[in-house]
Symmetry: C2
Subunit: 334 residues, 2 copies
């Protein structure tokens, strides 16, 4: 069944039917009602492909993340999808992994499917050296990145100031007289670097010399963190606080401490990052830095919609994170 069938049945031209479908006005209420009724009765749905061909838009946005199985990204994708859908757009999900080749491939697939825009979730999509593939993509459609920035035409970004968040956290710890703060991280993505810089600046501004032995890198697995922390302890390196760049890492660290009968938060306080479900569920419950992912994602979609509408928009937005206190660290003066 197509627009011709409806037109014939209603005794009008396809132009009129099209106007009604698209709410273009210039149709008498009477005709409108008649046609609407016919469409209803015949259970007509316009062919999305033909519309897309005519309008050169299928009202879909590509949403890329390295892995939706990761709680953090899942949350983001969930919010983005909801926001898009409530504005009439569908989300095509692409889990790309972290390999640049795969990321490029995904972008090309999306481009060839002619999505209306792309949202890249996470700083993994900001390559350190060459982002020319993004520049190219942005020549066709607007590109939005969450927690990253590109300096190209037709690209947009919404980020949480992670550097500042960790910095603030260090300050809080220092105020509580913690001077040896162990920093645990996994990836060296831009996000990872920002967090670490926040740690370094926090110490520097507090006139605490930086001890490389207190900066520990490991994989994002419980075992890897436990090994790492075990090693620090066995080497007799003193610390009274831990900041982890990811909640999982913080949990792993606490497991190591617990096994060694080191009390959290009595002897060592711990702060995670991302304020994920894990933070609530761990024992003791983890104090964690919240990067306000909801706000980030909502802004991202809103901005994109403005771009679609040809409105002027801020190209780059930065939002501040905040610390959610639980059991593993509560400042004295709270």
């Amino acid at each position: 069944m197509n627009i011709y069938d409806i037109a014939k049945e209603a005794g009008v031209s396809i132009a009129t039917v099209s106007r009604i479908i698209n709410n273009k006005g210039n149709v008498s209420p009477k005709t409108q009602d008649k046609v609407l009724k016919v469409m209803q009765d015949m259970g007509y749905t316009p062919n999305a492909f033909a519309r897309a061909l005519g309008l050169n838009s299928i009202k879909m946005v590509g949403v890329l993340c390295s892995d939706v199985a990761d709680k953090h990204y899942a949350k983001a994708v969930s919010i983005i999808e909801k926001e898009l859908r409530s504005n009439g757009y569908d989300a095509i999900l692409c889990c790309t992994g972290k390999d640049l080749k795969d990321k490029k491939k995904a972008i090309n697939v999306l481009l060839s499917k002619r999505v209306d825009a792309m949202i890249l979730v996470g700083s993994v999509f900001q390559e350190k050296d060459d982002n020319s593939h993004i520049k190219e993509a942005a020549e066709t459609i607007p590109v939005m990145i969450i927690n990253g920035t590109y300096d190209y035409e037709n690209t947009y970004s919404v980020s949480c100031d992670e550097e500042e968040s960790v910095y603030t956290c260090v300050k809080k710890l220092v105020e509580d007289n913690h001077k040896e703060i162990l920093y645990i991280y996994d990836v060296e993505s831009l996000s990872g670097i920002n967090k670490k810089n926040g740690y370094l600046r926090g110490l520097t501004e507090s006139n605490i010399p930086i001890n490389e032995q207190l900066i520990v890198k490991c994989d994002r697995t419980l075992d890897s963190v436990k090994d790492a922390v075990d090693r620090v302890i066995e080497n007799d390196i003193q610390f009274s606080a831990i900041i982890a760049a990811e909640d999982v890492l913080a949990v792993g660290a606490m497991k190591s401490l617990t096994k060694k009968r080191i009390r959290v938060p009595r002897q060592v306080v711990v702060v995670g990052f991302n304020n994920s479900v894990l933070a609530e569920c761990s024992t003791p419950a983890l104090t964690s830095i919240d990067n306000k992912i909801e706000i980030l994602c909502e802004s991202a979609v809103k901005t994109l919609l403005d771009v679609f509408d040809g409105k002027k928009t801020k190209k780059h937005q930065i939002i501040k994170g905040n610390i959610v206190y639980r059991e593993s660290f509560v400042p004295n003066k709270m």
Copy 2:
């Protein structure tokens, strides 16, 4: 740039170009090379909308879940997306929530976008009374449900036998001399009912009378579980084991026990369901039933691809779960 430009540049007709794009054969290698080179040089990408219109397929599959922020569904979606993509299909994600009206709306949107098929993730999509909207959808495109079943033409399913999994778990506990087993659950979806039935059958077949006070319902939040378990303990209802229908519930229960200085697994053993990251991260690490979600999802996509190819396929598949032992319960005879 379109197929005409390529045809002109290569000095052939658009029919030939089309044949080459679609690998339809009947083209001399010489022509093929020439055209391919032109396409490459000009950076040509076929217009997906026009193709979709001609082929009446855009190579996309709708993936519905009630909430991707839920780790469990996120995992499933992640696998499905990967599987689809590596077979040339894109995934349109729809997070529907649990409200029937919203689920129907999402299905209609997907139908109107003319996806090639739909995959519904989770038993939330199997309504207890009326699934006629599914029947209707399946008249247009194949519908696959994971952990559920419909009895309609053109519907398919892949499920984990959750009833059997919980049943087996009860048996294991009974073998270890646990007779008072507390069962905690949240939702009464079909999946929820199946699990509970497994619990009931396990007890019945072990000749243990069913004690309604040991069957506890609560919300899927830590506080709700803790309250629920607290109440059981305060009412002096004895139990030496807990089975929870969800890992989060198990974690909440353990938190309650710990606070009351009841040792896990020494005094009470605990088993969760889903074998999620939480299970690894909780303290003590949670023994949990794995529902083999990877296998489920891979089978689902594989089946759908077979349907696309017009191959004969099993309409309904059932896969067995298994228990992953960690700290919160290890059978004596292991």
